[in-house]
Structures are given as structure tokens and as C-alpha cells.
Assembly symmetry: C2
Homo-oligomer: 348 residues x 2
DNA sequence: GTGAAAGCGCTAACAC
DNA sequence: GTGTTAGCGCTTTCAC
């Protein structure tokens, strides 16, 4: 049905078969290493014909037959956020290592957009869906149809019925951060900046902050909620400053926000860490280059991505929650003494 | 060939046809609005049957037939770089607006990896390839096969035979940056930090810096080359500091590097902008939250992404280069007086 | 306005 | 060890 003009029809498995003087089945056997054996010389001939003709298998045809695309869908909220950016990078790596392609989409924290993206990716027949959901898992499953691709929920606080879930042990991370501020740095009034409805409701970081302040007998300082972004953190901190509610230390729920918080405090002339140490959550590499460098509870993003892809490759029959430990990376913003900079100050 | 267990075979167009009491052709006509007309009542019946059965078209089958996936491939170097991150975000938006999916991959600046990714995406039958190449376009076309998908080269300095190319007018941007430093801020020795082999060889930013310093009779200060990353910028600046080569102003080739540069200078106790103003290139939103905020030559990323997708949707028969103007966004790092911060300093 | 049927390129069961 | 062939689910030409 000559939809292709005669000039340069794409070369198909039939062309290869003809050139190698074998049947198309044999070409398949060679390509897939099975399911039937092929004589070495035949295989060689086939292979020769293949790269002679520059044969490239038709992915769609293969998909149609096998029902698998070797592709995963990845839905994140916002890749400008360094945590999601790093996560996306690790997913990309982990996926390619296993021969998967990655169809990405950003929800920008919009639940409806998220639903649309999910269903679009599902229509594109991805083998699995990795989703860092916007908002807490509701009673309705994140993905509607039971015949939909297996879904792995990332950045997830706890188990969600019927889904694989991966997330940091955020409550512990938060407690460690607060404990550090209270214990090591002797702070008595520790406030918090966080985003709306994070991993769960209430967000475990919030819960961790509450319980740890209580456990240590320190005052939970002001709480400021704003977007999970640089700007959100900035606004939240500004609000604290403008209302005179700045506590004597701040735990910030994400590195993205912490970047904005630092900026707001610096702008207001607050001395960090002396006047107000800041510890955040995520522990991304971005925190190495802020001023001051961010002390932050690090999520093992690489390991999480590897697990996500392992789950995709060998779908565990009964989904469960996988919590990852979080460890505090000490940099400058908490006030810990560090190895003195090697820098040689130079006046120009 | 019961590859699907009986329990819940996916519903196909044949099921819909049966349910609606029509032929499969009619279902197609309804779905695609053609190519043949369908009686309104028939169409209604079909549509009813479709969402009755929860019918979802099989993307692979459609692709096999039509030869189009409604998917583009996007290959970037490193999405931790705020410029690429913003670009990726805009591409995602522009693509979805036009009903395209986006298969992403990161090359991390590795030419071989890039080639592999390109050929993988091509095998996955993307309709087009958007590529921010690692290194300057060589004589060999970025994509080998003539039957390969149309390719749009992003972040590209100039025309490349046989390809659509999009890029900033980087030389002008560089000149504007240097001119600003020289003219407005009276700097006489302007150095530069840049990455290896950028858009072209030599990088137009480098060329712009050279020509503009010359034109204004100022000294081109030290040149430091390192990775296109935070760490690269940091190392470059450290080298300048350690060798006593810090000039009295710095033009940095990317926001990603500038973040590292600021960090290194601050660490060394350099007063920015007084002792050493910094102007960078890209103008990403990240520069709003650095300390000090980055003055930077902004690339119109959104418009570039829209053009890229327009080219994908209506492939211009004769590819050409599209240069976009770049404008200096004045923030703090150059030393321009700004509206004073509204902040109310608060001592805790 | 509707239907039958021929592919799109590949896989794998089955025959030899 | 190799070949034949029936699909996978969709689109579209061509007959009616």
C-alpha cells in the first residue's frame, strides 16, 4: 500500500532475509538470540546482511507484537527543583543501564495535569510509570485502570495500597536536623519552612520537627508554608522576617526552598549561621554552592532510582513501601566548624 | 495466539465495533474524524461504546501503520545546569501543547554517549530529535542516516548544513556583557570563565569577549576554562584566585558556572560586585536567588522552545539557522544600583 | 454511509 | 536448523 514513496523504503526484516537467503524467522532468531537455535554460519550471514543494509528493527512492530515498549514514563513536579533534577538524572541513568527509554513530563504540582499526563503516558504504552505525585495519595488510586502499567510512587511518605512506593525516611531526617540544631548548636526556638501537602498529610518533615522540638523541650518556632521552590522559600522567609517571627534557627523542608530562604535572610542582613542557622532537606549538590553552603538531610537519590528501576524490571508481585535512610550532610549553614577554606584571599 | 490470559484482554477497536454494531472501519472514521463521513447517530453509538468499554487506542499499532509516534527525542548535556533545566521545561510544555511526548536523555557532554542516545531515540521512531550537542558540530552530520528523523540542533552557534539550528546570538550577548562592565562600571581588566568547546570553536562568547574588550580598549583579563557546571565555575575561579590572576571584573559563559564562581569569590573574601563584578550568560531564574543575584545575558528560552516545536510540527523544507537576541538582565552582581531591598532587617 | 480486507514489520508456534 | 504463517491493533482503499 505504497505509503512510502518508492525512492527509499525503509529496510525491513524481509529485506535482510532475502539478502541473507534465509527466512524472516531466522532473522528474528538471530536478532533475539532465540527462541530457536541458528547455525553459526547462517547467523553470520544474517548479521552481515543486517549491517550491510543498515537494518534497524521497527520498534512499533516489535511493541505491537510483544506488548512492551522498553520505555518508562516519569512524571515529576518541577525539574527546576534540584531534588527532582537529580532524581530525574539518576532515573535516566538507571533506565538506560537497563535498556529503558524515559518519557518525561512535568506536572508543576497540578493534580489534573498530573492525571492527564499519566493517562497520556499510559496510552503511549509505557511499561511502567514512575510518579512523584503532587499532593498526598488520596483514596482513589493514582492510576485508575487495573490494566495500566505498574506504577512506582516516588518521593512517597508511606505505603499506598496496590502500589510500589519509594521514599525517604523523612521523619527521621527531620528529627535529625532539628536535633542537630538543638543539641550541637544549642538553639531553643526552631522554626520551619515547608511546602504545601508534601509526601503526606501532615508532611512527615513537619511531624518530625514537631515531635523532635517537643522531645528536646525546645520551642517550635514559627511555621511558614509556601511553594516547593526557590521563590516559595524566599517568600516564606520574608514573611517570617516581616512579621518579626524569625526564630533562632530554621529547618527548611527542601533544598529548593532553602536557596530562597538563604537569599531572603542575607538580604535582610541576617548573619547565617550565627544569628539563624539553617538546615534543610534533600541534600542535593546544589547546596555545595550556596552561600553559605547548605547543611541538609540527604536523600539517597541514586539508590532510590536504582530500586525504582529494579522494581520496573522485576515487578514485585506484592507492592510494598521502601523507606530509605536519610543522613545529615554537614556544610556551613548550620554553623558547624568546618575545615578552613583553602582559599587564598586576594585583593584586586 | 493467547499471549494475554483470558481474564482481561485489552479492549480493542474490534470490541468497540462489535458493541456498537458497526465495522472496525467506522470506529476508525469516528476516532480520526475521517477519512470518510459517518452518520451522527452512528458516531454517537460508537462513542458511547468506546467509553462504555473504556477503550484506549493502541499506540504501537497506530505507529506501525502511520509511521509516526507523535514523540520527540530530546538530548541535553546535563539537566542540573539551570539553562538546560529551563530549556527542558519549556520544551516539555511546548511539546505537550502540540500533543507530542518527549523522550529525554542526558549525554553529560560525552560525544559517544550522545551518538548512542541519538541512535536509540531514532530506533524508537521519534518524529524529531532535539539536540543540544556536546561540542561543536563536526563535519560528520550529528545524525547519520538520511532517513533519520528531522533534527533540530539547540544551543547552536550558527548554521549547520542540512539541519535546523537554534541558538542565541551569543556573540552580541557577550559583547553587551563586556560593554556593560567596561562602560557602566568602568572596569579596565575583564576576565572570562567559560566551558570547553561550547556552541562552536571558538565559542562566540569568547570571541565576543575578545572583540569587545579590544573595541573598548580594555585589557582582556585572564581566561579560565573548566566544565559547564557549578563545580567547573568554582574551580576556574579558584584557579584565578590561586594564581593571583583575578581581574577587576569577570564575564562568565553560563549561569551554572557563575554560581560556582560567586561561591569561590565569596569564600576568598572578595567583595562582589565592588572588588569584582560578575556578569554571566543564560539569564536563568536561578540567578534571582544567588548571593549576590546574577546579572546575566538572558536567552529567550521559551521562544526558542516554541520555535523548535514549530519546526518539528511543520518541518521547513530547507533548514536554516535561527538566532535569538539576548538581553542583559540587570541584577546585583554587576554592581548596578537597584531598588533598595524592601527587607526589614531583624536581629534575633 | 458502511463494510471487507490488505497491509504496516515483527514474533513465535508449528511443521518439516 | 530452517521455513511458513498466523496474528498483534490499527488505517484506508475500494466496493457496495
Amino acid at each position: 500500500m505504497g505509503r512510502d514513496e518508492a525512492r527509499s523504503r525503509r529496510v525491513t526484516r524481509a529485506d535482510v532475509a532475502r539478502a541473507a537467503g534465509v527466512s524472516t524467522a531466522v532473522v528474528s532468531y538471530v536478532m533475539n538470540g532465540g527462541p530457536r537455535p541458528v547455525a553459526p554460519e547462517t547467523a553470520a550471514r544474517v548479521r552481515a546482511a543486517m549491517d550491510d543494509l543498515g537494518y534497524r528493527p521497527n520498534h512499533a512492530a516489535r511493541t505491537l507484537n510483544l506488548g512492551t515498549t522498553r520505555t518508562i514514563g516519569l512524571v515529576l513536579q518541577d525539574t527546576l527543583n534540584p531534588y527532582f533534577a537529580e532524581f530525574a538524572g539518576e532515573i535516566d541513568r538507571a533506565a538506560r543501564e537497563r535498556g529503558f527509554g524515559v518519557l518525561t513530563a512535568e506536572s508543576h504540582g497540578d493534580r489534573d495535569a498530573e492525571r492527564r499526563l499519566l493517562s497520556d503516558l499510559s496510552d503511549r504504552q509505557v511499561d511502567a510509570l514512575l510518579l512523584a505525585s503532587s499532593g498526598p495519595p488520596t483514596t482513589e488510586p493514582a492510576v485508575a485502570n487495573p490494566r495500566d502499567p505498574t506504577t512506582v510512587l516516588l518521593d512517597c511518605a508511606g505505603p499506598v495500597a496496590g502500589h510500589h512506593t519509594i521514599g525517604p525516611d523523612a521523619a527521621s531526617g527531620a528529627r535529625a536536623a532539628v536535633a542537630h540544631l538543638a543539641q550541637v548548636h544549642g538553639r531553643r526556638r526552631i522554626g520551619m519552612v515547608i511546602g504545601p501537602d508534601g509526601l503526606a498529610s501532615p508532611d512527615p518533615r513537619l511531624a518530625g520537627w514537631r515531635s523532635e522540638t517537643e522531645a528536646r523541650g525546645v520551642t517550635p518556632g514559627a511555621l511558614a508554608v509556601d511553594d516547593w521552590s526557590n521563590a516559595g522559600g524566599y517568600r516564606a522567609a520574608r514573611r517570617l522576617l516581616d512579621t518579626g517571627a524569625l526564630p533562632d534557627a530554621l529547618f527548611v523542608g527542601s533544598d529548593a526552598q532553602a536557596i530562597g530562604v538563604l537569599r531572603a535572610l542575607l538580604e535582610a542582613g541576617i548573619d547565617i549561621p550565627r544569628a539563624c542557622p539553617v538546615v534543610s532537606f534533600d541534600g542535593t549538590g546544589a547546596g555545595d554552592f550556596t552561600w553559605p553552603a547548605l547543611t541538609s538531610a540527604r536523600q539517597p537519590v541514586r539508590e532510590m532510582a536504582d530500586l525504582a528501576l529494579a522494581l520496573v524490571a522485576h515487578p514485585d508481585p506484592d507492592p510494598r513501601h521502601h523507606a530509605f535512610p536519610v543522613d545529615l550532610v554537614i556544610r556551613e549553614s548550620c554553623g558547624c566548624p568546618l575545615a578552613p577554606p583553602v582559599a587564598t584571599p586576594i585583593d584586586s
